[in-house]
């Protein structure tokens, strides 16, 4: 009996969760400028506008991609030494460093955004795409930091001893044992940061200072004018990216484990 109730509950929850997403996706098919559900004059022309013809959107999309890929890469590059130091030494200093690196993600992003706005204004980078990339890299540092730490913890220390008895120095061990074995976790961290960067706009708002726009920022800026179906196309694009990325992580990595489940239970 409980099983039936449970299944109903979960299905209901799934429907509620999926509903806005489905609606937004279908709104992308609207023929006119208003967001109707169900869509009026269904057409795919909005997709064409978004990806090809309207420069506002194509530029924004390009910026989104640059910032997302750039910041995710930088985030992983920054997270690795911190996670490695934490795992190797476990010292208070290492813990402090990791904690500091996670602070921007833990606190309300609006404050970090305001602070970064001032920060880049002083450094002269306000409004440059590099400021955007670095800002997002730092904002999402916590993500690869966590996934890589999980990966490092999974390494059997006996493997490191074995490598040492076979002549491997620390750097050789890192290159031949640690990096390959933590590759899935590095990649997951990269993708998490990538997807979140795509969707973030508050920090980007303060850092870009109207000099450039990413897709979500563009939507955010146009909010006072209301939503348009072309924006819904962006939603479709981003949802697709998310699903693809996370499915890939689930397929090639161990997603439940990454999210904290026990290794032994099936």
């Amino acid at each position: 009996m409980l099983c039936v109730f449970g299944h109903i509950f979960m299905s209901l929850a799934a429907i509620v969760v999926a509903l806005p997403i489905v609606i937004v996706c279908s709104a992308a098919l609207n023929g006119g400028r208003t967001m109707y559900f169900p869509p009026e004059d269904p057409t795919f022309s909005r997709f064409g506008e978004f990806f090809f013809s309207e420069p506002v959107w194509t530029e924004a999309l390009w910026n989104s991609v640059i910032v997302a890929v750039g910041s995710a890469t930088l985030s992983v590059l920054l997270a690795w030494p911190i996670a490695y130091g934490l795992w190797k030494t476990g010292s208070r200093g290492a813990k402090l460093l990791a904690g500091l690196g996670s602070v921007p993600f833990a606190l309300p992003p609006i404050v970090f955004g305001v602070g970064l706005g001032f920060f880049w204004a002083f450094l002269g980078g306000l409004g440059s795409i590099w400021a955007g990339i670095i800002s997002h890299a730092v904002l999402f540092l916590a993500l690869p930091l966590v996934t890589i730490s999980i990966g490092l913890q999974a390494i059997d220390r006996a493997h490191l001893d074995a490598a040492a008895t076979m002549g491997a120095t620390e750097s050789v061990t890192f290159r031949t044992i640690i990096l390959p074995q933590t590759l899935p976790y590095t990649i997951s961290g990269f993708f998490f940061a990538l997807v979140l960067s795509f969707n973030e706009f508050i920090v980007m708002f303060f850092v870009s200072a109207s000099a450039f726009a990413t897709v979500t920022l563009q939507i955010f800026n146009s909010l006072r004018n209301g939503y348009t179906p072309t924006m819904a196309v962006a939603a479709v694009a981003f949802i697709t990216v998310s699903i693809v990325v996370f499915s890939a992580v689930a397929r090639w990595g161990d997603l439940p484990r990454l999210m904290g489940a026990d290794q032994s239970r099936t």
Binding site: M10, I21, L100, V103, L107, V114, N199, F238, I239, P256
Partner: protein, 327 residues
Amino acid sequence: MTVAGHIAPLAETPPALRPVFRWGTVASLLLWAIVLVLCLVPFVLVLVISFGHKVEGAGWEWAFTTENYLRFFVGASWPTETTFLYVTQLYWSMRYAVVASILAVVTALPFTYLMTRQSRRAQAMWLVLMLTTLSLSEVFIVMGWDIILSNNSGLPMLFAASGLTDWLKESGWFDVLREWGLANPRNVKFKTSEVATVLTMSYLVWPYAVILLYPALSRLDPSLAEAARTMGARPWTVARTVILPAVRLPLMGTLLFLFVFLLGVYVAITVFADPSQHTTAVSIYENVRGSTLNAPFGAAQSVILLVTAAVFLLLGQRLSRKSQGPA
């Protein structure tokens, strides 16, 4: 190469050790510098600027004045006139955040529990769904809910078309809804109401709740619940006496994390909340880059919001450390 072959060089090597050592320290110093500058300095700047002084136009200057904080607590024209406008905004920030996070956790808990009893593959699928929703930008989520709750084409229209509105009017429920601010004279309305705001915010953090509760619930030993059942406990009793105590601390931690997260929400508030019920986050936006342009004041509001968030975060950390307890 034999061990003996390595010995002779060793005796002369100590200087050779040092370059490696130095490279390591340089790298770690650099790392510290990067993290400190990028992660800490922005917050420090906000703090410093909150003591600054706004000048005419859109600018401000360095100063050390507490006028911004004063303004936050009692208004700009104090002592002539006292207004608690900004404090009220903070109140609304916390109110929305509390209600939404509780709602999210209460509904996410049974869901996550049921999820962890399923197969690993099913769990992976659910997690993909959760992660996708979670990573979805607030703008998109609000977009979706905007359509659903839109007065012209969303649920209200559904209510009217299906005759539900008329039924409500007849049964007297309609007046109740009007009192709650959920109805106009003609039809129910959801946009700009606390209900809509809280619902959307709750939806926003729901996947976070699932993901945060997941580790603790997935590690629950099923034999504990089974043992309780063999001793006569019915499902609700099992939930109350076996499951809930085991996840009490992760539950509190999740609530606190969601609360802090929701303090910073912007778009949902501007779209769904009545202007008189706006939050500090919205006000910060207005002051720093929006229409009122008072950066030092916005900075002061940010600091206060930050302090509020930090207090709750530390509480959460304290709790989670207790849960790892005297092991």
